[in-house]
């Protein structure tokens, strides 16, 4: 009797026991080569600098105090955040109409349009940034076109500054705001817009009062994604930014690779991450107010 009762329990336990191995390789990978490495950024940032080795003996907060007292670094941090914010706002303004259009579209071209949105995401960053170099350089396609139309006589400085980085990053990260918005907009029942119209609201009023408030979660997710991606981007500012468009990521890599100042570079990376966390936190609190009524 007791054996019969015990049997299912034993089987249940052995099932779970035999299943655990399935997740072990992944956990080993992500703890051993993801979680632990992140801890070493913190320890590295507290190491003494050394001219003879990667770091010296003992620990110090000097890298933080030096960085935070350096106006040059503050300037680059400010520029990085400004570029990030600009890219985010422009991406939202350009991405929303595309997501809205794609969510409503029921033509047979929808699938092709979806490929148009996705493909820039899957084409490598270096390739896409290279394309923008062709467009934005002094002899580039944009300046050629402007000269041909007689608008300018001398080429405009479109790259090696924040402007070029902002334009290229907007292109690079636009899909990242379109896709969450698209998911969000598709989940809103078309009946709601029809209900609004039946109650006498125009299409504009319907958009402002019904569709836009209900798409706030998509806006929030997409803008955070684009902001974090653009302030941490390396390839685009490194290729297009020159010195005039240098951002925190470029500076950190310069510390690590060119100057071999690992502890100081680690401190800069942590400062960058901390600033990002603070900004995203503030943004979440702000947008939470706009979303408090949503289910």
């Amino acid at each position: 009797m007791s054996a019969v009762e015990a049997a299912p329990r034993v089987e249940g336990r052995s099932n779970r026991g035999t299943a655990t191995w399935m997740v072990v390789p992944a956990l080993v990978l992500l703890i051993g080569f993801f979680a632990l490495p992140y801890l070493t950024i913190i320890t590295m940032s507290l190491r003494e600098a050394s001219t003879r080795a990667v770091y010296g003996e003992g620990f110090t907060l000097a890298h933080y105090t030096t960085a935070l007292g350096d106006f040059y670094i503050w300037g680059i941090l400010g520029r990085t955040l400004l570029i990030g914010a600009t890219v985010t706002v422009i991406s939202l303004l350009l991405g929303y109409p595309v997501a809205y259009h794609l969510a409503k579209s029921r033509s047979r071209w929808t699938s092709l349009l979806y490929i148009f949105v996705l493909s820039p995401l899957l084409v490598g960053l270096v390739v896409r940034t290279f394309a923008w170099m062709i467009i934005l350089s002094n002899n580039g396609v944009a300046n050629q076109a402007l000269k041909a139309t007689g608008l300018i006589d001398f080429p405009l400085q479109l790259m090696n500054n924040s402007l070029g980085v902002t334009i290229a990053l907007t292109h690079v990260f636009l899909p990242f705001i379109i896709l969450p918005l698209l998911g969000n907009l598709q989940a809103i029942s078309p009946d709601l817009a029809m209900a609004s119209r039946s109650l006498g609201a125009s299409r504009m009023r319907t958009f402002w009062k019904v569709t836009l408030p209900l798409s706030m979660p998509g806006i929030q997710a997409g803008t955070i994604l684009v902001f974090v991606l653009s302030i941490s981007a390396y390839v685009t500012p490194a290729m297009l930014g020159g010195t005039g468009g240098r951002t925190m990521s470029v500076l950190v890599v310069q510390y690590l690779v060119d100057n071999f100042r690992w502890p100081a570079g680690a401190a800069l990376a942590i400062i960058m991450a901390a600033v990002a966390v603070i900004f995203v936190g503030l943004y979440l609190r702000l947008t939470a107010r706009a979303m408090r009524r949503l289910p």
């Binding site: 009946d191 709601l192 029809m194 209900a195 109650l199 609201a201 009023r205 289910p295």
Partner: protein, 366 residues
């Protein structure tokens, strides 16, 4: 007075002809149901009336005003959706206020009208709730209130009860009908549920494959269907095929069938020799045990049912609580379904006589 005229509208999607020359006149204060299986065009018709679809040809008039080309928001309609379509980010009061704000109603008037209509749908005190905090039936009533509070000229309802459970659905039928009569608003109701259409409507439009099969009162449609498909769609029915043997009066005929000659009622003008189907509703057939001696008194009582008599054997018997449903196989091979009240004294295999009156039959063109 005609409140709403649908005048020969057509609608095509590519080479699909969704609506073919649909015309429906609707009187002021009438409750009209569009009834039919899915894909018959009833929802497209409603969307044309609402302005979410534009007919390729034909006109839609609200009173004397041609609204065929008007935008939905210019039509002064109230609409209740199957999904309710309550704005999830607004409270009940804000949902109700939405249409009043568009109409620039003053704050004081808004509050008064919202309170009135909430009382009407028995949801006093729910104004601060969000839709997600309400039950399905309550959401349904808010949707109704939101459509009524703007005092529209027409109320459009698109299968509003489809998402409710059976008990609540029955309750809401009477609730909506009662409310509609009290307000006196012209209403168009889309449904695929014939029982719903029967109990709620002044008129029913039976649709199939983009055309109107029949337009009439529930009684007309139930008792005088124009075709076998209408008869089959509304309620249960039996049919027996035959040929007209002779016309007995303007609307009564003698029909020759494999089971013998049957006295029937039918539309005027059927020619002798025409192929017809005799429709008889199960509840209009009296079943008697074949071998039992039938007393004179009983016979007298059966006088109304006495016009016709067919014999057959019980092949199936289903107990349904309030009644029994019997299937009887006639000598001709036709299967006839009949209702037998009370305790069922008949067993499968027993020989029975089926009696029904000529006035309870209706002829359908074959």
């Amino acid at each position: 007075m005609t409140a709403l005229t649908i005048d020969r509208i057509n609608k095509r999607y590519g080479n699909l002809h969704i609506l073919k020359d649909i015309s429906i006149p609707i009187a002021q204060g009438e409750f009209v149901s569009l009834l039919g299986p899915s894909g018959c065009g009833k929802t497209t018709t409603l969307r044309c009336i609402a302005g979410f679809e534009r007919p390729d040809s034909g006109r839609i008039l609200f009173g004397v005003r041609d609204v065929t080309h008007a935008l939905p928001e210019q039509r002064d309609i109230g609409m209740v959706f199957q999904s309710y379509a309550l704005f999830p980010h607004m409270t009940v009061a804000e949902n109700l206020s939405f249409g009043l704000e568009v109409r620039k109603v003053s704050v004081a008037d808004r509050q008064r009208r919202i309170a009135e209509v909430l009382a009407m749908v028995r949801l006093e005190g729910y104004d601060k709730r969000y839709p997600r905090e309400l039950s399905g039936g309550q959401q349904q009533r808010v949707a109704l209130a939101r459509a009524l509070v703007i005092e529209p000229s027409v109320l459009l309802l698109d299968e509003p009860l489809a998402n409710l459970d059976a008990t609540l659905r029955d309750e809401m039928r009477f609730f909506i009908r009662d409310l509609q009569q009290r307000v006196g608003i012209t209403s168009i109701y889309v449904t695929h549920d014939q029982a719903e259409a029967m109990v709620m409507s002044d008129k029913i439009v039976v649709m199939s494959a983009g055309t109107i099969s029949q337009f009439g009162s529930p009684r007309e449609i139930y008792e005088r269907p124009v075709s076998q498909s209408v008869a089959g769609f509304i309620g249960r029915s039996n049919t027996i095929s035959g040929k007209i043997a002779e016309a007995l009066g303007q609307d009564s005929y003698k029909v020759e069938t494999p089971c013998g000659s049957i006295g029937t009622t039918g539309p005027a003008g059927l020619a002798k020799g025409a192929e017809v189907k005799i429709m008889i509703r199960p509840e209009n057939i009296r079943t008697l045990r074949h071998d039992a001696g039938i007393s004179r008194q009983q016979r007298a009582g059966e006088a109304g049912h006495g016009d016709n008599a067919l014999t057959g054997a019980v092949v199936n018997s289903i107990y349904q609580g309030s009644a029994n449903q019997l299937a009887v196989k006639l000598g001709s091979g036709d299967r006839i379904v009949v209702d037998v009240g009370g305790r069922n004294p008949l067993d499968v295999g027993e020989q029975v006589t089926l009696r029904f009156a000529a006035r309870d039959t209706w002829l359908l063109a074959s």
